[in-house]
Amino acid sequence: MKESKNEKLLVLYEAIGEIDPHVATAALKYKHKTNIKSIRLVIVLAACICILAATLIVGMNLALGGAKGEDPGDKNLAEDAENALTEEAEDVTLATDGTQPEWGVPDIKKDLENLLNESKAVMTAIDDSEVDTVLYNGRLSLMLSDGAKLYFKAFENVENAEALKDSLSVSGELLGGAETLKYKVWISFGDGRVVTPYLEYSEENIFYGILFDYSPKVLPSDEFVTELINLFENN
């Protein structure tokens, strides 16, 4: 049995030696080839998916943008803020009469809080690392912190920035107040300059660390709130 197997082995050994010389030589030249057709197919499919995705994204943005433009919420925001200011004036009158608002804090602060709270919906949440980018984005921007997140919204109307600056200059002194403001607000001029509701703008009052050196026990001035409303209204 073993002898027979060995004989078969020799036959196989010889048989392999008899294969076509051309085939035997060609085998040495073969290199693994990547299937170009498959790669092309993958590229074409990937391109199709990208185009489809881009189309969907653009379409969704257009749809959302259109819807936002028609959203009465934005217009109502300004109206609400205006009404709030009117109501605040009434409250001030009440305060003069000795009646304290039921929440125990100045109305103007609450109005501002309401305004800013609603504003968050149209603002972009940013990471701490993106703050400097906003400071130098070349556009007037509102930056807002609700204690948890930081938001920003860029405004097109640069003229209002000057008005805002003036409003701050008017109320250049620190505005007193006993309550801690939930929101912290800054206006960035896009060139590194930043103003806060209670400080005049300063070339040095920039960058993230300094920005957050913000006194929480300060009320916004009327002018600031008015200009802030203008910014939202005009943008």
Binding site: K2, K5, Y13, V23, A24, T25, A26, A27, Y30, H32
Partner: protein, 183 residues
């Protein structure tokens, strides 16, 4: 050096022909012999005998494929040596070629019908019917007697793929031989 240049050296009866042949094909020839013979010493002797045979057969012959030409010579020499040794001492190892034995199981009923020529034809047909990549692996392994890692590196695929492919090819060859009635 190109094959035709080496053949020219043989035709010129230049001893450099042997040196160049050894540089280009020495390793392959030894592996081919070792795939049948278990002895390193025997394989080296077979290689030297091959060079001598090539020297004697040229210039009468002018091989186009020098590697194949030498491979056939060393196979014949190795088989002769194997038979001679086998007569002296039963048994022996046969390394690479033994892998293919699984294609030919012991079946006493068909042993008498074992047809060497038909086996050679079937083997050739099997090789030709394979894809270029599979064919390259099979021939490199069983004709040129290259080891798995060398095959993988030369072709540009993983060793495991070479092993798996060769394993499947041996099964396929066995099925073919059974179908051809050679088993």
């Amino acid at each position: 050096m190109e094959d035709n240049q080496i053949v020219d050296l043989y035709w010129e009866r230049s001893e450099r022909a042997i040196k160049e042949t050894d540089i280009k094909y020495g390793r392959m020839l030894k592996s081919t012999s070792l795939s049948l013979l278990s002895s390193n010493e025997d394989a080296e002797e077979c290689v030297n005998d091959t060079y001598l045979a090539a020297w004697n057969r040229m210039p009468e012959e002018r091989p186009i494929y020098l590697g194949v030409f030498l491979s056939r010579i060393i196979r014949n020499i190795s088989v002769s040596r194997y038979r001679a040794k086998h007569r002296e001492k039963r048994g022996g190892a046969y390394a690479v070629t033994a892998e293919l034995l699984e294609c030919i199981p012991d079946k006493s009923s068909i042993e008498n019908d074992f047809d060497n020529d038909r086996l050679k034809d079937a083997l050739n047909n099997f090789i030709i019917s394979q894809s270029e990549e599979k064919r390259a692996m099979f021939i490199r392994r069983y004709f040129w007697s290259e080891n798995i890692s060398d095959i993988a590196a030369a072709i540009g695929i993983s060793e495991s793929k070479v092993k798996t492919t060769l394993f499947r090819m041996r099964i396929a060859l066995r099925e073919l031989l059974e179908k051809e009635g050679l088993l």
